[in-house]
């Protein structure tokens, strides 16, 4: 289990006074303190951890966010920013003495320019909501995390979210032009805007993916892109993970980079097929889903090349979609992968390490060995082009020993990712989940350097404390 810092007695003792102060800043029903109404905020996508906060504040403007942060700063109150609460790493897990600032009421689209290819939206607009607002003109917002129906752009900025299509279009950081940023002292700063690149320090770059450590983003300017004329998928199944890994390498070296390149291993294929009836090959050890874009002629030409590449690796079977419907059928199982695994196991942990793609066969073999020694099943699904693994470790949350083992298994996988030249997290963030593993990837001086940068923004460590950085050696956050 992961330790959380002890609540500050001086804050807990002034609870009523703090609630009154917050209510003066965010009038109406924007401050929640009743235990029953706090329940929905006590956890996020990492539901093994739960902690009701002191209060939840739901501001409806940047000015209110600034006022609340200034108040918290002046009163030494910890703050946990929250978007939709879909974090898989516990990024929005509250603390008992913290005020959760939820941005869901800030959900307006403020400006769209097709000629300048940008949209300005409030932080609580959902990821898919941006695409919905511009798709009528044939545009879209590129990063597409699995939770895109629910997750909010403010949270995407804070976690630098990815998705299946970032192989071509990049992650959140590559698709931002500006943010409105509120510091812990309540200063509102405009960073970037409609233009490209910064003249001074790259504030947009350091804020993106900072997991709420540096401040709160209330507005976001994103690049919107004109969608390709169409897209189509193919499926290729192989007799071993080694061969499938070699096929991935060959595709990436070929000069034809697909828009998506997804990998599923045998347990995942079986779980998805049982759930989605997508017609996946049950005799395969590994399967690739490959998607290309363009006009029909371009799709044909690209798919023919990719089929030729896959054919060099003796596939068990290949299926090239001939229509949009057949493409959807190929994606159907993959899109439902997490739900499919959820059906065969009461609970699972979704890991998120990244490895150099050349290490794939070795890493999958080691994960298989670990699965046997821990006695826990694992299904692997991941973004093969960029080496971002999502092993799903199945366990039973009602059995504390099973949960303990699953966490240890997950930690071993992430250590392995770092050992082979990769990292602890590709797109889900460190959160509380991987906080204590940070010394596996970073040296003491490297962590100290990151902490000093955090302190430059937040000297009192009030912003989302107990996430990202280990608690040890931090007098401001003793457990």
């Amino acid at each position: 289990m992961i330790a959380l810092p002890a609540p500050k007695p001086e804050v807990m003792g002034r609870r009523d006074e703090i609630l009154a102060g917050l209510r003066a800043l965010v009038p109406g029903d924007g401050v929640i303190s009743e235990p029953l109404r706090l329940r929905p905020y006590e956890t996020d996508g990492l539901s093994a951890y739960r902690q009701p906060p002191l209060a939840v504040v739901l501001p409806s403007s940047t000015e209110q966010v600034a006022a609340v942060l200034r108040f918290c700063h002046e009163n030494g109150v910890r703050v946990v920013p929250r978007g939709a609460g879909t974090s898989l790493s516990g990024g929005a897990l509250p603390l008992a003495d913290a005020v959760v600032i939820g941005l869901m009421r800030m959900n307006r689209i403020l400006d769209v320019s097709f000629t300048d290819r940008l949209a300005v939206v409030e932080a609580g607009v959902t990821n898919l909501g941006i695409t919905k607002a511009v798709e009528g003109e044939g545009f879209f917002y590129a990063p597409d995390p699995s939770s895109q129906l629910a997750c909010m752009i403010g949270g995407n900025v804070m976690m630098n979210s990815g998705g299946a299509h970032c192989l071509k279009y990049g992650v959140t950081a590559n698709n931002l032009l500006g943010v409105k940023f509120v510091t812990i002292t309540g200063d509102v700063i405009e960073i970037g805007g409609g233009h490209l690149d910064a003249a001074g320090y790259d504030w947009l770059g350091i804020i993106t993916g900072s997991e709420g450590q540096l401040g709160i983003v209330t507005e976001v300017t994103v690049r919107i892109l004109r969608a390709a004329e169409g897209q189509r998928a193919m499926l290729a199944a192989f007799s071993s993970t080694e061969v499938a890994g070699a096929a991935v390498d060959a595709i990436m070296a070929s000069g034809v980079i697909p828009v998506a390149l997804e990998f599923m291993d045998r347990p995942c294929i079986h779980a998805c097929e049982a759930f989605a009836k997508a017609g996946y090959p049950l005799d395969a050890e590994a399967m690739l889903i490959i998607e290309v874009e363009g006009s029909l002629e371009e799709q044909d030409a690209l798919l023919a090349r990719l089929r030729d590449i896959c054919a060099r690796f003796d596939p068990i079977s290949m299926r090239v979609a001939t229509s949009a419907e057949e493409s959807l059928a190929i994606w159907k199982g993959r899109k439902g992968a997490f739900g499919a695994v959820g059906r065969i196991s009461p609970d699972y942990l979704c890991m998120d390490g990244t490895i150099p793609t050349g290490e794939l066969p070795h890493v999958l073999r080691r994960i298989g060995e670990m699965s046997e020694s821990y006695g826990l099943a694992v299904a692997n699904v991941f973004h093969a082009g960029d080496g971002n693994l999502h092993p799903l470790i199945m366990f039973d949350a009602n059995d504390s020993e099973s949960f303990r083992k699953a966490e240890a298994f997950g930690a071993d996988i992430l250590k392995l990712c770092v050992e082979v030249g990769g990292c602890l997290t590709g797109e889900h963030g460190v959160g509380v989940e991987k906080r204590d593993l940070m010394p596996v990837q970073f040296t003491g001086p490297e962590l100290a350097q990151q902490r000093r940068v955090k302190s430059a923004f937040d000297p009192g460590w009030l912003l989302n404390p107990a996430k990202v950085f280990p608690l040890s050696d931090n007098p401001l956050l003793s457990a």
């Binding site: 290819r117 630098n160 409609g194 790259d202 390709a228 000069g255 490297e446 350097q449 990151q450 990202v468």
Partner: protein
């Protein structure tokens, strides 16, 4: 800029030792190509990374390269050409623009430290976006890493982004790891004659909002020419597999009648010239600025600068960036600042005589809250203020 740096360490450890032993401030440079940019550094000694050379990792199937900071752009491009890969952001060689044509070619560390990107920036990837990992030495002489060698990595604060574009003020970059992309099988450029900037930028916008994956969108205004092409023209580039370029160029031409197509080497040479800002050809006594704005604001801004200071301009990034040449005077600088401000954009002074760049704000002033953050972040990485003092802002 010094022809022979006082310190040119050959290893990362030597960089660290030099910084730990430094008695006072140091000017930090790579090849020195862009030391004429921004403000003159207030330091009597120079440390160059030009002798930290060599490609340390090249995995084409993983689309990744690592190179020590002093490795030059031509060396990297040559190594990648053998594997049909490229640096997607297309970092420029600005020696001619900067008035130092005989200087050594730009180093990859210097390019990252200045976050310089070429025409393909418009596809979404600045050089800072291609940086997967950095090794650097902070002002206290500690050897540190951020990022890594994998394409997706959100572990911890992204110090790569802070270092990229910090012009050596936060750390000395010793090695970078960059994401690669495939080299196109075919390159073709549609050249469309236009009346003025308004029509030109509208045409670039039409290209960039088409579904055809335009990878370059520049405009040569009247009186500016490159590769035998004379302005005013709008340029739209396609780079892809053979069949895609054929199909997409036919569709673009149909949408933009009257255009001519440049293929192969003629097309490549044209975009190399745009990348390196050669068409601007400033006179030796002229100043050069780079102004970034929302593309739709570019025509008005260019008109204001042409009327105000007789500026000559090259537009790239769909009109989102204007390279501006004009008189090296305080009045002209004030006019560029004002025009950028009115257009809601930013400016960087790239080239001017030392007294001018020492006296002016060479990048937009920061509001007080941001200035405070800048000072604290600088102190977090370079507590004694040894690295490139005054390079970006007076006293900072």
């Amino acid at each position: 800029m010094s022809a022979v740096p006082d310190l040119a360490p050959r290893t990362e450890e030597e960089v660290a030792t030099a910084l730990r032993n430094a008695a006072g401030p140091l000017a930090i440079e790579g090849s020195g190509t862009t030391m004429g940019m921004l403000r003159p550094v207030q330091a009597s000694r120079t440390l160059s990374t030009r002798k930290l050379t060599g490609i340390t990792l090249l995995r084409p199937q993983e689309m990744v390269i690592s190179a020590r900071a002093g490795t030059t752009l031509p060396e990297i491009e040559a190594a990648l050409a053998g594997h049909n890969q490229i640096l997607v952001p297309e970092p420029p060689d600005l020696r001619v623009l900067m008035g130092v044509p005989d200087a050594p070619p730009p180093s990859i560390g210097g390019l990252v430290a200045a976050n310089l990107s070429g025409p393909r920036r418009i596809t979404g990837f600045a050089l800072r976006d291609a940086v997967l990992g950095i090794r650097f030495v902070n002002g206290a002489g500690e050897v540190l890493r951020s990022g890594g060698r994998v394409h997706k990595n959100v572990t911890g604060l992204d110090l790569c982004k802070l270092l990229a574009g910090s012009h050596g003020t936060l750390g000395v970059i010793t090695e970078v790891t960059l994401k690669l992309g495939p080299a196109a099988e075919r390159v073709a450029t549609l050249v469309v004659r236009v009346a003025d900037e308004a029509e030109g930028v509208a045409l670039l916008s039409a290209g960039l909002t088409s579904p055809y994956g335009v990878t370059g969108a520049a405009m040569l205004p009247r009186g500016v020419s490159a590769g035998g092409v004379a302005g005013p023209v709008a340029l739209l580039r396609l780079e892809d597999v053979e069949a895609s370029v054929t199909y997409r160029m036919a569709r673009l031409r149909a949408a933009m009648p009257g255009g001519e197509v440049l293929e192969g080497e003629a097309s490549r040479a044209l975009w190399r010239a745009v990348r390196d800002v050669l068409p601007l050809a400033p006179a030796p006594d002229e100043a050069v600025w780079r102004v970034s704005v929302r593309p739709s604001r570019a025509p008005g801004m260019v008109a204001a600068l042409r009327d105000g200071i007789g500026a000559r301009v090259l537009l790239d990034w769909g009109g989102g960036v204007a390279w501006v040449a004009g008189p090296a005077t305080a009045e002209a600088h004030a006019a560029v600042m004002a025009a950028a401000g009115v257009a809601g954009g930013i400016f960087i002074l790239f080239r001017a005589p030392d007294p001018l760049r020492a006296a002016m704000a060479v990048i937009p002033p920061e509001p007080p809250a941001l200035a405070g953050l800048s000072a604290r972040v600088k102190a977090a990485l370079d507590p004694a203020g040894r690295l490139n003092p005054g390079r970006m802002r007076a006293g900072g």
